[in-house]
Symmetry: C2
Subunit: 176 residues, 2 copies
DNA sequence: CGCTCATATGCAACTTGATTCATATCATGA
DNA sequence: TCATGATATGAATCAAGTTGCATATGAGCG
């Protein structure tokens, strides 16, 4: 249910095309909400049908046409109403923890190997987040309200990744 | 896809009924994988049909009949095969972060109120985890392999909740 | 006697997300 | 010339999770 609001929020910030939004939801916004292009296009079509977004088709020389979406007054209202509601925290569902739970069927080296793979991903992720932090949020005090909040979302990504890395160290120590 | 393996693992540990499993997946196992009773009963029926579980109906005096499930050889094999595969990390999808992203539509006090609600949940959760840690895992070195791994899953729950609380403090400091 | 609560099980409809397939333009390089 | 990759869009199908509804037993309470 949140994809639509994530799209509305992103488009509220900058009117964009499905293609550009897809890229954001797989890169810069992946620590907030991720979605593939099929999902994005489907939801954009729905939102437009419901009048929460408006479309303009743009012809480009040398490239296929594209549709740029902008948020409507109804869209802003819907987004505002959703944001005001207190949402329940999402349930935890993590295959890696299920594996630990089924753990006496796996050998420790095997588990360690999987963990090393993930650890590598987390390290890279953390480096990316830290780069963004240094590049765009070096001085949080000077940020506008909007970007200060986006910075907090990034901080969440950083703290989360750090906590996975710390946990990986604990696991390694126990399995060794 | 992991629900079935979480069920197999839980039943491998102790043969149980759908009712008991549902309770575990909403309480003691909620930090690993959560599921409601409809999901549990549906999946148990499938697993039995596929021969990964066997059933025994037990009559009880004064209470409805219940079905106790046990894992079969095929079930153990399927679980083992799944555990060996390296799984991709699940994508992040958090409505709370979407709200921050849409943040200039919310007032800070409103966001703080929501955060305080969640913070309360996290505190209680952390207390529960710590109680389990003290009660069952006081001396990790003496645990069997199986319970040592379950302890690591619990540790993940603890680190995760702590990192949310730390983040909540950061948010509070910025919004104040 | 009817009410609610805990135990115990399940179906059906719906929504969301993942996967597979499809189409079209143009630039670049082999 | 042909293949590849980036841009740009979407339908169709499948799997997983959510929500609503349904049923049955017995205990305890007013």
């Amino acid at each position: 249910m949140s994809l639509r609001y994530a799209l509305l929020a992103a488009i509220d910030e900058t009117p964009s095309t499905g293609y550009a939004l897809t890229r954001r939801f797989n890169e810069g916004l992946a620590h907030v909400w991720s979605a593939n292009h099929q999902q994005v296009y489907r939801e954009l079509a729905r939102l437009e049908k419901e009048g929460l977004l408006s479309v303009t088709v743009e012809s480009q020389a040398g490239k296929p046409d594209r549709k740029r979406y902008a948020i409507t007054a109804a869209g802003i209202e819907a987004l505002g109403a959703w944001v005001e509601q207190i949402a329940a925290r999402p349930a935890t569902r993590d295959p890696l923890l299920v594996k630990l739970f089924a753990g006496d069927l796996v050998s420790s080296p095997r588990l360690c190997a999987e963990l090393d793979t993930h650890r590598q991903t987390w390290r890279e992720q953390l480096a990316t987040y830290r780069a963004i932090e240094a590049r765009y949020f070096a001085d949080p005090d000077t940020l506008s309200h909007r970007y200060r909040l986006q910075y907090l979302a990034l901080r969440r990504g950083i703290l989360n990744t750090e906590s996975w890395l710390a946990w990986a160290d604990e696991v390694r120590a126990v399995l060794a």
